[in-house]
C-alpha cells in the first residue's frame, strides 16, 4: 500500500482514471452544493423572493400546474413542435448530408450555399417566417427546421467523409457493387456518427424552440416563461427552465441508449 497514491493525489493528477464511485460521489456533491446555495440565497432572504423563488415554491407551483393540466399541455405543445421540426430536418439532412460526404459532385453543388446559410443566425429569419407563415405552430417548426437542417447537413457529410476508404475498397475486392457498397458499407459505417450528430443537434433544436416561443406563441414552455415574467411569477420561469433541462436530459439519454443498442459495435 505504501507506493499507492492517495485519492487526493490521484484527483490532482492530469489525465488520470478515477474509480466510478468517486466520479458519482463528486457529481452528487455538486448538485447538493447547488441546492444548498439556492436554499441559502432564497430561504435565507439574501435575494428577495420576487427575483429568486425558494426550491419549495417552485415545486409547489409545479405540482399545482401539473394538477390543473396546464403544465402537461404546455410541455406537449413544446415537445410536439420540437419533435416535428427535428424529425423533418433529420429526414431531409441524413440522406442529403451522407450523399454530400460520399459524392464530391453533390458536395460541390451544396457546400457553397450551405456554408453561407449556416452562419446566418436563425433568429434573423424569425420576422421573415412570421411574415410568410404567421404565428402558428408551423412558424415555430420552420424556425427549428431552418436552425438545425444546415448544421446537420455539414455534420452528416463529415460523418460519411470519415468512413475509411479501405473499408469500401475491401468491399469492392470482395465483389460488392457500387450500390451494395453504399448500402452495406457506407450506411452501417456512418450509423454511429449519425446518431452522435443527432444527439448534439437535438440540444440545438430545443434552443431554437425557446427562441421561437419567446417571440410568437400562445402555448409552450417558452411562452409560459414570457407570460410569467410579465406577471412577476419568477417561480414559473424557474419551473419552465428546469423542465426544459430535464427534457433535454431525457432525450440525450434516449439517444445514448439508442446508440448503444443499434451501434454497440462502435465504442
Amino acid at each position: 500500500m505504501a507506493n499507492r497514491r492517495s485519492l487526493v493525489q490521484r484527483c490532482l493528477t492530469p489525465m488520470t482514471v478515477l474509480p466510478r464511485s468517486t466520479m458519482v460521489v463528486v457529481g452528487v456533491v455538486m448538485w447538493v452544493l447547488f441546492f444548498l446555495i439556492w436554499v441559502g440565497l432564497s430561504n435565507g432572504g439574501v435575494v428577495p423572493p420576487m427575483f429568486l423563488p425558494t426550491p419549495t415554491a417552485v415545486l409547489h407551483t409545479g405540482w399545482e400546474l401539473l394538477q390543473n393540466g396546464t403544465l402537461p399541455m404546455h410541455i406537449w405543445a413544446s415537445a410536439r413542435v420540437v419533435l416535428t421540426g427535428f424529425i423533418l430536418s433529420s429526414l431531409l439532412a441524413i440522406p442529403l448530408g451522407l450523399l454530400m460526404g460520399t459524392f464530391p459532385v453533390v458536395q460541390a453543388m451544396l457546400e457553397p450555399i450551405v456554408n453561407f446559410i449556416r452562419y446566418l443566425p436563425v433568429t434573423a429569419f424569425v420576422p421573415l417566417f412570421i411574415l410568410w407563415i404567421g404565428i402558428g405552430e408551423e412558424q415555430r417548426v420552420a424556425v427549428i427546421l431552418f436552425g438545425t437542417f444546415f448544421q446537420q447537413l455539414i455534420m452528416f457529410s463529415d460523418v460519411a467523409r470519415q468512413v475509411p476508404r479501405d473499408l469500401l475498397n475491401a468491399a469492392y475486392t470482395l465483389g460488392a457493387t457500387r450500390a451494395s457498397v453504399t448500402w452495406q458499407v457506407l450506411a452501417p459505417a456512418s450509423l454511429p456518427g449519425v446518431l452522435d450528430a443527432l444527439r448534439v443537434t437535438m440540444g440545438w433544436a430545443w434552443t431554437y424552440l425557446v427562441v421561437a416561443e419567446l417571440v410568437a406563441a400562445s402555448s409552450g414552455l417558452g411562452y409560459i416563461s414570457l407570460k410569467a415574467m410579465r406577471g412577476f411569477q419568477v417561480d414559473v420561469i424557474f419551473l419552465a427552465i428546469a423542465i426544459i433541462g430535464a427534457l433535454g436530459l431525457v432525450t440525450d439519454q434516449a439517444f445514448r441508449f439508442l446508440r448503444l443498442k443499434v451501434a454497440g459495435w462502435a465504442q
Binding site: D166, N169, G175, A189, W265, Q267
Partner: protein
C-alpha cells in the same frame, strides 16, 4: 525484363501462362504545383499461376500503388493490367486483397465478415457456413466466430482479413504489407500461418512488403523495386524448397539472397546494415 540470376528454379512452374500480367504500367499524379509526380514508370512483369510473387522496395517506390492498380481500385496513367489475358477494368472478386490497415467491417462479427463476399456471390446459406467454418479453422479462429472486431487483436484482425479474402476464392490474392502494423512476434506467427495456408492452396499471390526477410521467406520470386520513379530493378527467384520454416533464415542461400537484395536497395550503403 531481367533474367533470374539464380539457376535453380524450385517451386515456380516453368513457362506457365501468366495469371497476372503487368504491362508497361505508369502512374502519374498531380503534385499540386501544376506538374505531376511519376509514381510508377513503365513497370512490366508477369505472375504465373500458383506463384507467390513478392514486390519489395523502399517506402515511396510505388509498390502499394501498383497493388491498388492491379486490384482495379485506381486507374493506370498508361499501360495495362491483364488477368488471364483479359484487361482488368475496376475492382472485382477475382482479385482479392488484404490491406495494410484493418478493414474488417466492425458491425459484422468474424463469421459475417468472412461470409461478406460469399453472400454477394449468392452462395446458399448452408454452403456459405461450410466455407466459413473451413477458413475459420484454417486461420485458427473457430472460437472467435461470433466476436466483433473491437474484441480482436491486430494479428487476429489480419487473420480474419486473410480468411475473408481466401473464402471468396479469388484468382489472384493481392496482399499490401498485411503484417506491417503488427509487432515482430505476431508478424512471425502470421508469416508461419500464411506459409502453411499457401503451401496447401497454392494461390497465385502478389505480396508487397519492405521487409526483406519476409519477402524471401514467403516468396517464390522477389521483384525488387527502385524508388522515384518506381521501376522493377531486378527479378530474383528464391531457391528454397517448400515446405519452408523459420529456421531457413539462417541458411546460406537465404543470406546470400538477402545480401543481393540489400545491395540492390542500398547500392552505396554498407550491406551489413539492415534495410529497415
Amino acid at each position: 525484363m531481367h533474367l533470374s540470376p539464380s539457376s535453380s528454379r524450385v517451386s515456380a512452374p516453368a513457362a506457365a501462362a501468366p495469371k497476372l500480367r503487368v504491362e508497361g504500367v505508369s502512374l502519374h499524379y498531380p503534385d499540386g504545383k501544376g506538374g505531376h509526380v511519376v509514381a510508377l514508370d513503365d513497370v512490366s512483369f508477369d505472375v504465373p499461376e500458383k506463384q507467390f510473387a513478392v514486390l519489395v522496395g523502399p517506402s515511396g517506390c510505388g509498390k502499394s500503388s501498383l497493388l491498388y492498380l492491379a486490384a482495379g481500385l485506381n486507374d493506370v496513367t498508361s499501360g495495362e493490367i491483364l488477368l488471364d489475358g483479359k484487361p482488368v477494368h475496376g475492382p472485382g472478386p477475382d482479385r482479392g486483397m488484404v490491406f495494410q490497415g484493418y478493414t474488417l467491417f466492425p458491425w459484422l462479427n468474424v463469421r459475417e465478415n468472412i461470409a461478406f463476399g460469399l453472400k454477394r456471390k449468392g452462395i446458399p446459406a448452408a454452403e456459405r457456413r461450410e466455407i466459413v467454418d473451413h477458413y475459420l479453422d484454417e486461420v485458427g479462429l473457430s472460437k472467435f466466430a461470433d466476436s466483433y472486431s473491437r474484441h480482436l487483436s491486430g494479428g487476429m484482425k489480419q487473420r480474419v482479413a486473410i480468411a475473408r479474402a481466401l473464402a471468396n476464392d479469388p484468382q489472384v490474392l493481392l496482399m499490401d504489407e498485411p503484417f506491417g502494423a503488427l509487432d515482430s512476434q505476431t508478424r512471425l506467427q502470421m508469416q508461419k500461418l500464411l506459409l502453411r495456408v499457401w503451401e496447401k492452396s497454392h494461390k497465385t499471390v502478389l505480396f508487397v512488403t519492405h521487409d526483406i526477410d519476409e519477402a524471401i521467406l514467403l516468396g517464390d520470386r522477389v521483384l525488387v523495386m527502385s524508388a522515384r520513379p518506381g521501376r522493377i530493378a531486378r527479378e530474383l527467384t528464391v531457391p528454397i524448397a517448400h515446405p519452408r520454416s523459420m529456421d531457413q533464415v539462417m541458411e546460406p542461400e537465404f543470406i546470400a539472397l538477402k545480401r543481393q537484395i540489400l545491395d540492390l536497395l542500398h547500392p552505396t550503403q554498407d550491406t551489413e546494415q539492415d534495410a529497415e
